[in-house]
């Protein structure tokens, strides 16, 4: 099988600008999304994922104007998430060039919507985005970023539910490891990959090339995603867009 492991930069949007977080807090302004798209385009990255972290909290609809401009520049697949609650908005996003739409808080609130979306647009067009946080005892719970707290939902059970409702992929994000460069949460990734058949994208904590390899080889993830890893450089966390060399990636993913 020559399907390459996908390596996906995740770009967070706030007020039309790119930001990065640590533990979903401590926001840093990272710059203009269009230029980031252009640079990633030139670096021939596999895929991009844009998440608007404000839309749901402020009850706003997706920023279609920005998506349209991204669509004009991106010659690789890009996904979009944040504030999506109805099929019309999804349809509009697809027409603007979005490859996949990611559902997060609305999927927690109304899992049946995932089914509707998958039915209308096909499973491969919808991603269930699941944020995970551990409690004091180290147990994992689904995190709801709207109120900034853990739910009583078990991530594995929720992932299975999303798969049943038709999600084509699951984006599994560790809140604790977000922006820390400490490595992925292999434990929860493994638990989820063993329980579902759809591809899992690991996110949260990537700090070095080896981390990407571990998520796949030890965690069983089908794809790896990262934010800070591709956007910050060095001890001062200087904003600088980087992407690993294709040969280095091949080496880290092969056993």
């Amino acid at each position: 099988m020559t399907l390459n492991v996908r390596v996906i930069p995740v770009l967070l949007l706030k007020n039309g600008g790119l930001v990065k977080t640590v533990g979903f807090k401590d926001m840093t302004y990272v710059g203009d999304p269009i230029n980031a798209v252009k640079i990633f385009n030139d670096k021939e990255v596999d895929e991009l994922l844009f998440i608007d972290i404000q839309a749901t909290k402020e009850n706003k609809r997706p920023n279609f104007e920005l998506v349209s401009r991204i669509g004009r520049e991106a010659f690789m697949p890009f996904g979009y998430g944040g504030g999506i609650r109805n099929l019309d908005d999804m349809s509009r996003l697809f027409r603007l060039g979005v490859e996949k739409v990611s559902l997060n808080s609305y999927a927690i609130e109304n899992p049946d919507f995932m089914e509707e979306a998958a039915h209308n647009f096909g499973s491969q067009s919808v991603v269930a985005s699941i944020d995970v946080k551990t409690d004091a005892l180290g147990r994992h719970w689904v995190f709801d970023y709207r109120n900034g707290s853990a739910t009583k939902l078990d991530p594995v059970e929720f992932a299975v539910l999303m798969e049943r409702k038709g999600a084509g992929e699951i984006l599994l994000n560790s809140v604790d490891r977000d922006g820390t460069f400490d490595g992925y949460d292999i434990e929860i990734i493994r638990k989820v990959t063993l329980s579902v058949k759809v591809p899992i994208i690991a996110l949260g904590g990537a700090g070095k090339l080896e981390d990407l390899g571990k998520a796949v080889k030890m965690g069983g993830a089908s794809a790896v995603a990262a934010g800070s890893f591709f956007v910050f450089h060095g001890k001062h966390r200087a904003v600088l867009i980087t992407y690993p060399d294709k040969d280095d990636l091949r080496k880290t993913f092969s056993s």
Partner: protein, 391 residues
């Protein structure tokens, strides 16, 4: 000798319409697209004449080497017990990249600073990555708020003045000094150099340090408040230089700097990639210099770059003329960049066309420092103070 005539021309706010018939210098390639150019009887122009005078007054050989080692010694001493002994600006371009290389060769401990203004090309970003990784230099990036910066850049476009790089240049200077103060570093080493940039054309570009000018353009054409945009006044600059004793040093003037040789060394040592012409590490700079300047303003900045290289004996006049014959912008790439720039600015094609069709204006047609009494007075005071404090 010609200075008073030059300054008279500047102050009258001369137009860009060429009143002279076309003429090109016999020694360099500057021509009447600079409306203020002056020719001697032998056919040489004021630009190369002044440039050569400047170049010849610079130390060379052993004297140059001595000055360099004295400077390096001084930087190292002042930097003892500090995290960094100097600050360098990096853009991914050949000059600043070679500064980074040189600085490490000299055993200094630099902090590299990059200004992300939203226009970095992938090549520039990759070059910066290689500089920092391969030369083991710490990096700090300042990301300008894109919405503010876009507003300011658009204002400059609408003002129809010929230098749209001023917002970036002004911001980077502010950041370099501000960071120098933060890190308690007294030396900022920059890539500007006399060897390849001895010729500057006022009619083509001025106002970089002029916050009054920048603000006035923004007041007239901008729509957003500039709340976070890094800036400084001439008083700030004086304070930094005189009170805080921070020195801005053209380090490349202290070595034998040959651009071609520099490119080849960088390519070999740190996998540096060349993107063709000067300053094309920024998509916007390329677009502005290779399209807007020739099309709207009627001049080609390559002439001043190449003329500088001629004066520095790095290329011949024939080579320069051949370079100028080369296409500025392959048509397909131009189309892509026009679309990209319009898309990025959120302009319609009609709005862009109207900007392109607005007649050019000059620095002198907007409020600026140089017209003020306090500028003229403080400049005089600054000159005196500089001579007293730094004999």
């Amino acid at each position: 000798m010609f200075d008073s005539e030059i300054s008279k021309a500047q102050k009258s706010g001369s137009e860009y319409m060429n009143h002279q018939s076309y003429r090109i210098c016999k020694r360099c390639v500057m021509d009447t697209t600079d409306p203020e150019i002056l020719f001697y009887e032998n056919g040489y122009c004021n630009h190369c004449t002044q440039a050569l005078k400047k170049l010849r007054s610079l130390p060379s050989g052993q004297e140059k080497a001595n000055k360099l080692s004295t400077l390096v010694q001084e930087i190292k001493e002042k930097g003892i017990e500090k995290k960094y002994d100097c600050i360098i600006g990096v853009s991914g371009g050949v000059d600043s990249s070679f500064v980074a290389y040189t600085v490490k060769q000299l055993g200094l401990r630099p902090l590299a600073i990059h200004l992300d203004n939203g226009w970095d090309s992938e090549l520039a970003v990759k070059n910066i990555e290689n500089i920092c990784k391969k030369l083991e230099i710490d990096l700090y990036t300042y990301v300008i708020d894109w919405e503010e910066f876009k507003d300011l850049q658009l204002a400059f476009l609408k003002s129809s003045t010929p230098d749209s790089e001023i917002p970036s240049d002004h911001a980077i200077t502010a950041i370099l000094f501000q960071r120098a103060l933060q890190e308690d570093v007294k030396y900022i080493l920059i890539g500007t150099n006399t060897a390849t940039e001895s010729i500057g054309v006022n009619a083509w570009s001025q106002g970089h340090a002029d916050w009054k000018y920048i603000k006035s353009i923004h007041r007239q054409f901008g729509t957003k408040q500039l709340e976070t945009f890094p800036h400084y006044s001439i008083f700030d600059l004086m304070k930094w230089k005189i009170l805080n004793r921070v020195r801005l040093i053209r380090i490349l003037d202290y070595i034998e700097y040959d651009k071609l040789e520099a490119k080849s060394i960088l390519q070999k040592e740190i996998c540096w990639k060349d993107y063709g012409d000067k300053h094309h590490e920024s998509v916007y700079t390329k677009f502005f210099q290779a399209y807007i300047l020739p099309t709207k303003f009627g001049f080609d900045k390559r002439k001043s770059h190449l003329s500088s290289l001629i004066c520095a004996d790095q290329i011949t006049r024939d080579q320069a003329l051949r370079e100028l014959k080369k296409e500025l912008y392959p048509p397909q790439e131009l189309k892509e960049h026009i679309d990209y720039v319009i898309n990025k600015f959120g302009l319609s094609k009609g709005e862009f066309d109207s900007i392109m069709n607005t007649p050019p204006k000059t620095y002198w047609q907007y409020p600026n420092y140089k017209k003020t009494w306090y500028y003229k007075t403080s400049r005089a005071i600054y000159r005196v103070a500089k001579r007293l404090l730094n004999p």
